[in-house]
Amino acid sequence: MRIRTHLPFVFTAPTMAVLAVLAFVPTIDAVNIALQNRELSNPDSVYVGFANFRMLFSDPRFLNSVWVSVEWEVITVAATMAVAIPLAILMFEATSPRARNALCVLFIVPALLPRVSAAFVWRFAFHPLFGLAVYPLRLITGHPIDLLADPHTAMATVAIVDVWQWGLLFAVIIVKLLETLPRQPLEAALLDHARTWEVYAYVALPMLRGALISLVFVKMVESLRAFDLIYVMTRGGPGISTETLDMYAFSQGFIESGRISYASSMAVLMMIATTAAFTILWRRVRRWQEV
């Protein structure tokens, strides 16, 4: 029924042009800067080829930050799903629809908070001397415990805040997805004397497989944006134990030395690695969802 119209072109071309400029100018320039030796204090610079990249791979602090980022990625993605799926099932099984709706609204709140706010709320709660969250620990042991200042616990403590924001949001999403499932297969399984957990493990969750895989994918992308939490809670410390890639790039480019080219070479590597990894993963995700 469609007549020939130029609407699709008029509506998409300008937007795509703007998006392309906004996206490609910085990314191309990132590469351009990474090949120079520019510093913030000094606008004069020359091209140095791949010197920055060679330097990166013999920089122990860079290698540390790669490791920290990978660790952060694995911990937060796994913990988020490990909180979200059981919590969603419990909510679906043990609460009335009204209570469930109220909980769903409540559990979105942490995700809506600016990460700076969430980080401060919890930094306050984990304060060694008067923090509410460590109060029981303080009572039992009798002395203050600074979880954020201990290299062994700092990363896990920051990860708690990330899971607090994302795990609860994902629980809400999974509950809503469970609500849309047809009842018959679940009831049939119960008639066959399946236990409650078996109904979920073998019937309900496999039915949601596509959606759950997308959620893991979303969390993987979002976990790369840990900067706000880490900046406010630990600044990469104690030492460099929570210094992720973006934190290190920031401190190289800004705080410590203004080595903007060096920071940019890190950014370029991140860009290549994440874009490649997520493009491949996304194609996979699409395939898994279609099966």
Binding site: T15, T95, V109, A125, F130
Partner: protein, 273 residues
Amino acid sequence: MARGVSAFVARAVIAVGAASVVVPLLWTLLSGFKNRVDIVTPTPMLFFHPTLENFLYVAERESVRTGLLNSIIVSGCSVLIGAALGLPCAYAVARYPMRFAHDIQFFVLSLRFLPPVAIAIPLIVIWLDVGLYDTRVALVVTYSLLTLATTIWLAIPAFKRVPAEIEEAAFVDGYGPYAIFFLIALPVAWKSLIGAVVFSFVLVWNEFLIALMLTTSDAKTLPVVASEMTQLGRDVPWGILNASVILLSLPPLLFLGVLSRFLSSALKTRNQG
């Protein structure tokens, strides 16, 4: 009996989850009304003489006022740009068979893969070179990338949910393609579209890293100002900090209802369609 016990355990776990949201937030709210001596107690204090001092201090600070104004202008403008350019684009992708529809969707999604630090570092140099570093213009332009990508991504399914029959009926009644978009599709999909636009607002209001790197004084947004509150003195002024955290968190929470409904309706139709 076993069922009673497991239901009890389940409710206990859920209660712990709910407490993890309510208690820290309530504590931050209460501490915003506390004097310094009531915060720095070894045993947490539930009853105290409330004071407005922290909020007054925050409200009177020049940096907070500028930050608030900057945040409102920057997120407002970038959200408007995102909606004005993004919604028509999303409609075209959703409704018209196009050769590049899939590529457009993937391109928009892949923008989300870019690490913000990777965009921010070259942008420092670019904005310095053109003399717009530390201005609201630079932030608005940079944030438009975020709002555009988000609005398009979320608005495509919203437009797809508009029944095609309505648009066909309008076409039979003699409406042109543009009239159908403005007079039919937009009003019908309005509720979901608001959700998409509000979501992009929350995203840029909360944004921190890019703002931190692209501003030094004049164009600082509220999250950056709040993050610097710890540097006020030797001791972290927790009362003032809590007050500013509350101020910063209010705007996104105002939209809690809108976004929660948006989430529900998006997930409901997703599984049916």
